[in-house]
C-alpha cells in the first residue's frame, strides 16, 4: 500500500513521534510518561513508517535488528539493577549523579532502567510487527 498522502504525512509525523517518545522517556520520572509508553510511541512511529514505505525501509531506518534492540534493553535494565552492588549498595538501589538535590535533567540508574524498558518494548513490539508484516 503506497499512498502519497500517507508517505508525506508519515515523513513529517514519524520523526515527531520519535522525538516525543524520547521526551516521554526522559521526562517520565517527573511528568507523565516513562519508558513503557515511550517505547510504544516509538513503535507507533516506526510502524507508521513501515506501513507507508514498507518493512524493509523501516528496518533500514532502525539500523539494528529489533531482536538486538530488545536484547540491549534487557542488558541496560539488568545493568541498572546491578549498578547498586557495584557501588556497595543493594541491588536495584537508585544511584543519582546529581546527589539528592534536583536539576532540570536528572541522570541516575532508574533512568537507565527506564531506557532499558523503552528498548525492550520497542524491540519486542517491532520484532512481532515486522514478522507479521513480512510473512508471506
Amino acid at each position: 500500500v503506497s499512498s502519497l498522502i500517507l508517505q508525506t504525512a508519515s515523513r513529517a509525523i514519524a520523526p515527531l513521534l520519535l522525538f516525543f517518545s524520547m521526551y516521554l522517556l526522559v521526562a517520565g520520572h517527573d511528568e507523565p510518561g516513562g519508558g513503557f509508553v515511550g517505547g510504544l510511541v516509538a513503535t507507533a512511529a516506526l510502524t507508521l513508517h513501515a506501513i507507508a514505505f514498507g518493512v524493509g525501509s523501516a528496518r533500514r531506518a532502525l539500523r539494528l535488528d529489533p531482536r538486538t534492540v530488545a536484547g540491549l534493553g534487557l542488558v541496560l535494565a539488568v545493568a541498572a539493577v546491578w549498578a547498586g552492588p557495584a557501588f556497595g549498595r543493594a541491588p536495584m538501589a537508585g544511584l543519582w549523579v546529581d546527589g539528592p538535590g534536583r536539576t532540570a535533567l536528572s541522570l541516575g540508574t532508574p533512568v537507565l532502567f527506564d531506557a532499558g524498558v523503552y528498548l525492550v518494548v520497542l524491540g519486542s513490539a517491532l520484532n512481532a510487527l515486522f514478522g507479521l508484516a513480512e510473512e508471506e
Binding site: G28, H29, L40, V120, S124
Partner: protein, 754 residues
C-alpha cells in the same frame, strides 16, 4: 577452606578434561587422576586435627548457610570418592582411548565425582539436596554417553526419573525435618536428635527421606534402573557402584541413623526393603550371564545388607555397615574394572561363553579372583571381616530372622562371586578365550590395586579400623565397643562356614535354576516402558481435550469461570455493590456513552476494518475516562496501546480471510449472554471493591516517598522503575520472550504448510 577447595578442584579438573583429551592423548589419565588423589590428600590433612568445617552465610533470613563439615563418616566416603575415583580416571582414560567422546566422558565423570564429594561434605540439608540432585544429573550424562543407542537413552531416563522422583521426596523430607528441628544444619539437627523424638512432623520427614534413600540406592522395588544402567561404559559402572551414586543412599542412611531410627515404621521399612533387596538382588545375580549384570544385581544385594544394618542401627551394626561399605567398594570396584578388562581382552562379557581366560589374561584373572574372595567372604579377606561384624551385630541385636536373611543373601553372593570371579578364568578355555589377550597395565593395575587393598585390610583389620572408628563415632557418638577382628568366636566361624556351604550348593544348583526361571526374566523392564507410554498417551489425550485451538472456546471458558466465581462470591454475600462515587459529571457520561456505542458498533459491524476502528474507539474512550479521573499516565499508555494494536491489525489485515459470519444466531446469543454477565458482574465487583477498604491505601505512602526516596515526582513512574522495579524487570523479560515467541510461531507456520 580445604573442603570447598577439594570440591572446586574436582570441578575445575572436570572443566579441563576435554582440553586434556586433546593435548595429552597418552598421559592425560594420570594428569587428571593426580588432582583427584590430591583432593583426597587435602581432606585427609584437613581431617587430621579431628575434623574441619566451614560456614558461609548465604540466606541468613532462612537460616541457610553454605556449610561443609568433615568428620569421620564424611572422610570415609570422601576417600572412597577420591581414591576409587583416581583409579577409575586412569582406567577410563585407557578404556576409552579410541572413543571420540573420551574428553566429554572424563569431564562428566569428574563433575560427578565433585558432586558426590559435595554431597558427603555438605552440612546443610538443602546444600546436601543440591549435590544429591547433581549426582543424579551427572550420572544421567554418564549413562547416556553412548546416546546413539536407544537402550542407553532409555536407561539414562529411567535412572534420572527414578532417582529424581526420590530426590523430590527427599527434598520434602528435608524441608519437614528442617521445620521440625528449626534449623537445616545437619550437625545441629543430629546433636539435638533426641529432642525431636516426639515431633509429629518427624515420621513424615523420615519416611520421605527413606524414599529418597531407597530410590538412590536402587532398593526393591525401585531397583530396576541399576541393572539397566549397565549401558554406561564399564569404568562408569565401576564408579557408580563402588564409591558413588548408590552409595549416596547408604551415606545418608548412616548419617541420619539417629533420626531414622527414632521412627519405628521407618526403621522397619529400611530393614524390610534392605532384606528383600539383599535376597532378591543376589538371587537375580545368579540367573544372569552377563558379567556386568551379575555385578549390578549383586550391588543391589550388598546395598540391601548395608541398609538393613542401618535399620538395625546399633553402634555395632553401624560399624559393620561402615566396614562392609569399604569392603564392597574395594571388591566391587575391582570386579567391575576386571569385567571391563575381560570385555576388552576377550571381546565379550557373557560368562556362558567365557572360560580359561587365566592363561591369556593372568593379571586380570588375579585381580578378579582376589576381589571375588572378598565378595564371597572367604576367611582372611576384608569381605570376611566385614561380614563377620555384620553377623555379630545382628545377632547381638537379637534379630535371628534378620540373621537368617543375611546368611541366605551372603550365600547367594558367594555363588555370584564364583560366577563373576572364577568361571571366566577357570582352566578349560573356550573359543572366545582362544583369541583373548591381556590388556594394557592401565586396565588391570587399578583393579589389582583395589583387590590387593581389600585383601591386605582383611589380614590387618586394625589398619582399616583407623579409618572406620572415627566414622563410627561420628554416627553413634562413641566408637563401637568391639574392633574389627578376623576371628569372632565359634558362632561367627560356624555362620561363615554355613554361608560358604550354602553358596557352594547355590553354585551347583545354578544351571538348573536358570533353565527353570529363564522365561520370567526382566518384568520391571517393561513396567518402566509401559509407564512412559501411559504418560505420553495421557498427555496427548489431555492436550486434545484442553487445547482445542479455538480462541473462542478459550475465552468462553476463561470468562465463564470468572463469571461463575464472581456470581458465587456475590451469592455467598459479605460484600454488595454500592455507589460511592458521587453523581457522574457530564463529560464522563458523554465519554461512557461513546465507549458503549463503539462497542455495539464493533459487534454489529459487517466490515473488518470498521470493527477494528470501532474497537480502537472503545479503547480511546476508556483512555479519555482515565484522563477525566486524573490519571494522565494511564490514559497515555492506554491510548498508545490502542494505537499500536490498531496498527498491528492493519499490518496483519492482509493475512486474514474475508470477513464472514460463521457463527449461528444461537451461539451469538450465548456469547452475548456471557459477555453481558461478565460485564455486569465486573462492574458490580468494582463498585463493591471501591466501597470496601480494610487497610489504609498504600498510595499515600508512595506519594509521600516518591521524591525523597525515588527522586521523581511522577509516582507511577517511580513505582515502575524504582519501588517495584524488579517486577518491571520480570515483565520486560516476559515481553522480550513473547516477542521472540511470536516470530518463532510466524516462522514455523510456512514450513508446516510445505
Amino acid at each position: 577452606m580445604a573442603l570447598p577447595a577439594a570440591i572446586l578442584l574436582l570441578a575445575g579438573v572436570a572443566a579441563l578434561a576435554p582440553a586434556a583429551a586433546r593435548a595429552l592423548p597418552r598421559a592425560g589419565g594420570v594428569a587428571l587422576a593426580l588432582p583427584v588423589a590430591a583432593a583426597g590428600a587435602l581432606l585427609v590433612a584437613a581431617g587430621r586435627g579431628g575434623g574441619a568445617s566451614i560456614d558461609v552465610p548465604w540466606l541468613p533470613a532462612l537460616g541457610m548457610s553454605v556449610a561443609f563439615r568433615l568428620d569421620g563418616l564424611a572422610l570415609l566416603f570422601a576417600l572412597l570418592v577420591t581414591g576409587v575415583g583416581a583409579l577409575v580416571v586412569v582406567y577410563a582414560w585407557s578404556y576409552l582411548a579410541d572413543d571420540p567422546r573420551r574428553g566429554r566422558a572424563l569431564a562428566a565423570l569428574l563433575a560427578f565425582a565433585a558432586s558426590m564429594l559435595g554431597l558427603v561434605l555438605a552440612d546443610d540439608l538443602l546444600i546436601l539436596y543440591v549435590f544429591w540432585e547433581l549426582t543424579s544429573v551427572t550420572s544421567w550424562l554418564l549413562i547416556q554417553l553412548r546416546h546413539e543407542r536407544a537402550e542407553a537413552r532409555l536407561a539414562s531416563w529411567q535412572a534420572l526419573l527414578v532417582t529424581a522422583a526420590g530426590g523430590l521426596a527427599l527434598l520434602a523430607g528435608f524441608v519437614l525435618l528442617g521445620l521440625a528441628a528449626g534449623t537445616s544444619r545437619v550437625s545441629w539437627i543430629l546433636a539435638d536428635a533426641a529432642s525431636l523424638a516426639g515431633d509429629p512432623l518427624l515420621p513424615w520427614a523420615a519416611g520421605l527421606v527413606v524414599l529418597g534413600i531407597l530410590t538412590k540406592s536402587a532398593q526393591v522395588p525401585f531397583h530396576a534402573w541399576l541393572p539397566r544402567a549397565m549401558e554406561a561404559p564399564t569404568p562408569v559402572s565401576a564408579y557408580l557402584h563402588a564409591a558413588t551414586m548408590v552409595k549416596a543412599g547408604v551415606y545418608l542412611a548412616l548419617r541420619l541413623v539417629p533420626i531414622l531410627g527414632a521412627v519405628a515404621p521407618v526403621r522397619w521399612t529400611l530393614v524390610l526393603a534392605g532384606g528383600a533387596s539383599l535376597i532378591v538382588g543376589a538371587g537375580r545375580a545368579l540367573l544372569e550371564s552377563d558379567l556386568k549384570r551379575i555385578l549390578a544385581y549383586s550391588t543391589v544385594s550388598a546395598l540391601g545388607l548395608l541398609l538393613l544394618l542401618a535399620g538395625v542401627g546399633t553402634p555395632a551394626a553401624v560399624h559393620a555397615a561402615l566396614a562392609y561399605t569399604l569392603a564392597h567398594a574395594l571388591y566391587k570396584g575391582a570386579l567391575f574394572l576386571a569385567a571391563g578388562a575381560v570385555d576388552h581382552g576377550a571381546g565379550t562379557r557373557d560368562t556362558d561363553r567365557l572360560s580359561g581366560l587365566r592363561r591369556a589374561q593372568p593379571f586380570t584373572a588375579a585381580a578378579a579372583g582376589l576381589a571375588a574372595l572378598s565378595m564371597a567372604g572367604v576367611p582372611a579377606s576384608f569381605g570376611y571381616v566385614a561380614k563377620e561384624a555384620a553377623y555379630g551385630s545382628v545377632l547381638a541385636a537379637g534379630r535371628p530372622l534378620l540373621l537368617a536373611a543375611a546368611v541366605l543373601g551372603s550365600a547367594l553372593l558367594v555363588a555370584g562371586a564364583v560366577v563373576a570371579g572364577w568361571l571366566p578364568f577357570r582352566a578349560r578355555p573356550t573359543a572366545a578365550a582362544a583369541h583373548a589377550h591381556e590388556v594394557a597395565p592401565a586396565l588391570f593395575a587399578p583393579a589389582l590395586a583395589l583387590a590387593t587393598v581389600g585383601l591386605a585390610a582383611g589380614v590387618a583389620p586394625g589398619v582399616a579400623d583407623a579409618l572406620l572408628f572415627p566414622a563410627s563415632a561420628a554416627v553413634a557418638g562413641a566408637p563401637p565397643a568391639e574392633p574389627l577382628a578376623l576371628f569372632h568366636g565359634g558362632t561367627g566361624a560356624a555362620l561363615s562356614a554355613a554361608t560358604l556351604a550354602l553358596g557352594a550348593i547355590a553354585v551347583a544348583a545354578r544351571p538348573r535354576l536358570r533353565s527353570a526361571l529363564r522365561s520370567e526374566a526382566g518384568p520391571s523392564r517393561d513396567a518402566f516402558r509401559g509407564a512412559l507410554r501411559l504418560l505420553e498417551v495421557t498427555a496427548k489425550r489431555h492436550t486434545a481435550v484442553l487445547q482445542t485451538g479455538s480462541l473462542r472456546g478459550y475465552l468462553a471458558v476463561t470468562f465463564g469461570v470468572a463469571a461463575a466465581l464472581l456470581a458465587a462470591g456475590f451469592v455467598r454475600g459479605g460484600v454488595a455493590p454500592a455507589w460511592t462515587l458521587g453523581a457522574p459529571r457530564a463529560p464522563e457520561l458523554v465519554v461512557g456513552a461513546l465507549a458503549m456505542a463503539a462497542a455495539v458498533a464493533a459487534v454489529r459491524s459487517r466490515s473488518r476494518l470498521a470493527a477494528i476502528a470501532a474497537l480502537g474507539g472503545v479503547g480511546y474512550a476508556i483512555g479519555l475516562l482515565f484522563l477525566l479521573f486524573g490519571a494522565p499516565d494511564l490514559a497515555m499508555t492506554q491510548i498508545a496501546v490502542e494505537t499500536v494494536t490498531v496498527m498491528v491489525f492493519l499490518v496483519a489485515f492482509r493475512h486474514l480471510p474475508r470477513f464472514t459470519r460463521l457463527s449461528s444466531a444461537a451461539s451469538r446469543t450465548r456469547d452475548a449472554v456471557l459477555a453481558g454477565a461478565v460485564g455486569i458482574l465486573m462492574a458490580a465487583l468494582v463498585l463493591s471493591a471501591a466501597g470496601t477498604r480494610s487497610f489504609a491505601p498504600i498510595s499515600t505512602w508512595h506519594v509521600e516517598r516518591s521524591v525523597p526516596d525515588a527522586h521523581g515526582r511522577n509516582v507511577v513512574n517511580t513505582i515502575l522503575v524504582d519501588f517495584r522495579g524488579l517486577d518491571t524487570l520480570g515483565e520486560a523479560t516476559v515481553l522480550a520472550i513473547a516477542g521472540f515467541g511470536i516470530v518463532a510461531l510466524l516462522k514455523l507456520r510456512p514450513r508446516r504448510d510445505a
